[in-house]
């Protein structure tokens, strides 16, 4: 046979080597689901990875298991749609201040603490010309939304000095 075939053999050998390697290296569950090669070509096990991703926000039902009075107060007031984590989940782990290690006891993974800064309340209640002035409550219908000008409304004071943030009313003198 002519010498000219030798490079062809080299190429063929490389292809065979690659095909064998491919059989070993490609995960067995890699396939085009439903025959959809365009949009569903993947490792099927990856779907399970995302299904098994840990749930972190558990909402007021979870917190209310212990904090019964607060939950009751919350449910009767203007903050009934505000989840506990909105204010109490700390993005800064150093601010974690929950007395019980929730992770150990119930596998709850967020860092719970208390943020008393005006900045937190301003996220909803600072008046902006384009911030909706009313909101729709499923039970009460259209409700006027309480907004203040943070520069004029008792600047430098903590909101919680006067306001009971759980009942969304004023703190009673009895306390």
């Amino acid at each position: 046979m002519s010498h000219a075939w030798r490079p062809v053999f080299v190429v063929l050998a490389a292809i065979v080597f690659f095909l064998v390697a491919r059989v070993i290296l490609v995960p067995s569950d890699f396939s085009a689901k439903n025959g959809d090669y365009k949009y569903q070509w993947h490792r099927l096990s990856s779907e399970q990875y995302w299904k098994d991703f840990p749930v972190k926000h558990k909402g007021m039902e979870f917190c209310g298991m212990c904090h019964v009075p607060i939950l009751e107060k919350l449910k009767g007031g203007g903050h009934q749609n505000v989840q506990c984590e909105n204010c109490h989940a700390m993005f800064n782990p150093e601010k974690k201040s929950h007395p019980i290690d929730l992770k150990e006891i119930s596998g709850y993974l967020l860092n719970i603490g208390t943020d008393r800064s005006r900045e937190l309340c301003k996220r909803c209640h600072a008046e902006l010309p384009y911030r909706p002035s009313t909101y729709t409550d499923p039970k009460k219908g259209t409700v006027k939304f309480k907004m203040i000008d943070p520069d004029k409304h008792n600047p430098s004071m903590e909101c919680a000095m006067c306001h009971d943030v759980h009942s969304a009313g004023f703190k009673t003198a009895a306390k």
Partner: protein
């Protein structure tokens, strides 16, 4: 003209039926059902999202909850969901911003960091954004290794163990919903909280929204709020011109929204 009694009766019957039948027909067909006749949704299970921009106050609680729920480092400047602010001034100028993806919320009238007087503002709105979970996701189409895919129920996910990090999907997303996750070093994006919706929970952003501006549900389920809104209200999508068939529907968009 002479009308026989019989003809008169016939005409009367037609007239009565003509007025009654359309009314009764409307009674049988609920608005949702009528709408679904015009635009029948597929029977296939499919997740979709509705954002009502008229209800969004720009508190950014959704962006915060999303980052914590999905373990995207909080201070890294990437967002699975974010809120944009569009402010049109009285002189016609439009200022758009989304400082830190609004995960700390909007607390001042300072678009793009410059404080402006309330009296200068003509109109403005907040627009929450997230992955549009497109029916024809261009990001999936361009992945060279099959590391991103659409699930059967319409959610686009990334295989963190297979992604090579070429960035082609990021470049091909019209909405810039994708980014590189700083810890896994792979492409990352909103998953509609796949771990939550598949367990019957709401997404973290929907849960954290006190104003009901966000809704996630099955587009084919007549009981879901998403279906009800889509079949009765006027909704629009972002950048339909790219042909991706996005599945996040908006109420109250404006032409200045990009």
């Amino acid at each position: 003209m002479n009308l026989s009694r019989r003809e008169l009766l016939k005409m009367g019957l037609v007239a009565v039926c003509g007025t009654v039948i359309p009314l009764s027909a409307l009674e049988i067909l609920t608005p949702e059902a009528a709408a679904s006749l015009i635009h029948p949704f597929s029977k296939k299970k499919r997740w979709a999202f509705v954002v009502d921009t008229t209800k969004c106050v720009g508190c950014g609680m959704c962006a915060k909850a999303c980052k914590l729920e999905n373990e995207v480092p909080f201070d890294t400047e990437v967002q699975r969901t974010w809120i944009e602010r569009y402010v049109q001034l009285k002189d016609g100028k439009v200022i758009i911003d989304s400082p830190q993806g609004a995960r700390y919320g909007y607390t001042k009238n300072d678009p793009q960091g410059k404080e402006i007087k309330d009296s200068e503002v003509a109109k403005g709105l907040f627009v929450p954004k997230l992955c549009n979970q497109c029916e024809k996701p261009s990001c999936v189409q361009v992945c060279p290794v099959g590391a991103t895919y659409k699930t059967e129920d319409g959610v686009v996910l990334v295989d963190r163990g297979w992604c090579i990090g070429c960035g082609y999907c990021i470049t091909n997303c019209p909405y810039f919903a994708r980014f590189f996750h700083p810890i896994t070093n792979t492409a990352d994006k909103c998953t509609f909280c796949y771990h939550r919706i598949t367990k019957g929970l709401n997404t973290a952003c929907v849960d954290s929204c006190a104003f009901g501006a966000r809704k996630c549900g099955l587009i084919n389920d007549p009981e879901s709020e998403v279906f009800k809104i889509l079949s009765t209200e006027r909704v629009s999508v972002l950048k339909p011109e790219y042909g991706n068939e996005p599945h996040v529907f908006y109420i109250g968009l404006d032409h200045i929204v990009r």
